[in-house]
């Protein structure tokens, strides 16, 4: 039996400044994972933090994007290309990828929530194109410069409808202004055929979920990724558990029906 708490040491091949105070590490590591899973990233001497996998299975590099929010993430910003970090994982249940045929898929991302949704979006876009009925991305950030993966979003082309919004627009901004849930007003939804994947700050998810429920989308088709303080990643240390579920193991991806015996205020 291996000690599954020891990280694998990997090198950072490339660092890309995705946005002010947001970096992406490119790591050359073959890892079997599905979109929505996360890694526990170690900075030896400081500790470990859970960070979603932003790359899509099959891409050349394993990618993680993280924001400077204090604690470990501050230290990650001190690292240079060639330095080592530890990774453990992949952990979590990942997004459910079955039964997407003929469905209208809508991705709703807020801030750093775009990172795991990038993995999912690319996966569905690349692998399942043709069977899907429609793809829509609603994505919001604080300011235009905080939008992640700008180039890639531009290159997505017409097969996916992309609506961007910011809280604080600047000169030259051509997208929408306002919070992400408001973008739902700008699109037509077919509630009984839609599957929604949501990831972002809890307050944004709470309002988005509430709005989607009002449109009539079944609660089992509203899927989101919960953020919790996760340490071990394998459902042992106890920090992430909510009701009787371990977010790191039974989640972080849940559909609203699974947690419906808890009130939205309890979950989000």
């Amino acid at each position: 039996m291996n000690n599954n708490y020891i990280p694998k040491v990997v090198r950072i091949e490339r660092i890309f400044e995705e946005a002010p105070n947001v970096n992406t590490f490119y790591i050359k590591e073959r890892l079997e994972f599905i979109p929505g899973q996360f890694l526990e990233i170690s900075y030896f001497g400081i500790g470990e933090s859970p960070i979603s996998i932003a790359s899509c299975p099959g891409e050349e590099f394993l990618r993680i994007s993280f924001k400077r929010v204090g604690g470990l993430t501050n230290n990650l910003f001190d690292l240079k290309e060639g330095d080592s970090i530890g990774i453990r994982g992949p952990f979590g249940n990942g997004f459910p990828l079955g039964d997407l045929d003929e469905k209208d898929i809508i991705f709703i991302a807020g801030g750093m929530g775009m990172a795991p949704l990038r993995s999912l979006l690319k996966f569905i876009f690349c692998k399942k194109q043709g069977n899907i009925s429609s793809l829509t991305l609603l994505y919001g950030a604080r300011r235009p410069q905080d939008i992640l993966y700008k180039k890639e979003l531009e290159e997505l082309g017409e097969n996916i409808k992309v609506l961007l919004t910011v809280d604080k627009p600047e000169a030259g901004w051509q997208g929408h202004t306002g919070v992400v849930p408001k973008l739902l007003d700008k699109i037509e939804l077919n509630p009984l055929n839609t599957r929604a994947f949501i990831c972002g700050p809890e307050i944004m998810m709470r309002f988005t979920v509430a709005k989607l429920l009002k449109t009539g989308i079944p609660s089992s088709d509203i899927i989101f990724s919960l953020e919790r303080y996760m340490k071990c990643g394998v459902g042992k240390c106890g920090h992430c558990y909510i009701a009787d579920k371990f977010v790191c193991r039974d989640g972080p991806v849940f559909n609203y029906k699974q947690l419906s015996d808890l009130s939205p205020a309890e979950i989000l």
Partner: protein, 366 residues
Amino acid sequence: MISGEHMIDGYYNLKKEDLKNLLKAVIKDFRLISPQPANGADFLFQETEDSGKINLNYDITSNTLKEFFFPARETVFEYEKRKDGSVETVPGADTFKGETVFLGPRSCDIRAVYFQDCFFGKEPKDSLYWRKRDKSILISFACNKPPRKGCFCVYTNNSGPVLEKGEGFDLQFIDLAGFYLVEVGTGKGKNFIKKYGKLFKQSDEKILAKKSCIKESCLKHFEKEYNIMDIYEKLKDINLEKLWEELGKRCTNCGGCEFICPTCFCFYTQDIEHSKGKGERIRAWDSCIFSGYSRMAGGVNPHEKNSDRISRRFFCKLYNCYKWFGVFGCTGCGRCSFVCPVNLDMESFIASLMKTDRYQPLLKEL
């Protein structure tokens, strides 16, 4: 039942006067951990080389078996950063030396180990726990009468006074006056009997019948007022906001109940750098009662209110644990009642929950 051991049916008798010889032999062949007197009237499970120090008539120990398999602090790995940017890691050494016999824990403590076996045994298995647990033999001692006022195993789904096979013991000793009835629980237990074959005599039906008498007579000492399954149901349905508020005002977040509890499993990890570039990652006991336990970077805390954390604690022990494994997270040992500096213990909580919905401490342990 998770241990891959094959269940063996077997009952033996051990004469009381042979216990001394058994202990001496065990000390020679194994590491022996058993209850011994400590400060004043305290007892602790401790390693011993002197069988004379062992006291099996203890009321309760101030520590539990948890700290041997899941220590309060242990090294997960050591690391060293190299000049070329790489990092070398070495798994934490196994400090559990050799085959260890635990002789003297009671049913409540053994059932607690069984719970932790279920928890740390769920995939992926926790290797730090199992490399110690696999090297242990558990010899449980059933209770003929409650050892003290504060026990309540009868409320917690028969976690005492006598256990059944498959509930965690390798051997169970039942005191029948002049001798012990020894029940074999696992293959490990069977091998132990074989090893000390001279001391153990095969038992018979008549003696086996006494096992249930012991159980009955012990139960008579308890006023069995509630069944934990009723508590399970009550927690599901009723709105207990007022009770949680009250408890939230009382609890001062010392973490004691969860540090002393033999089933609690929460831990935190911490990197400690001892010298430049060299250090270790440790894991240490944590408690869900602290606000920092679930607080995330940036200050967001899904359990900001003390009353939320208290309710989470009781839900975990009396509801979730049973939902996960069919074993309750509380085995009625009653230790939380002597560590709580605000008189908020499990037995008082259960009594308050079932009787009044307002909290009334029983004040059994002062």
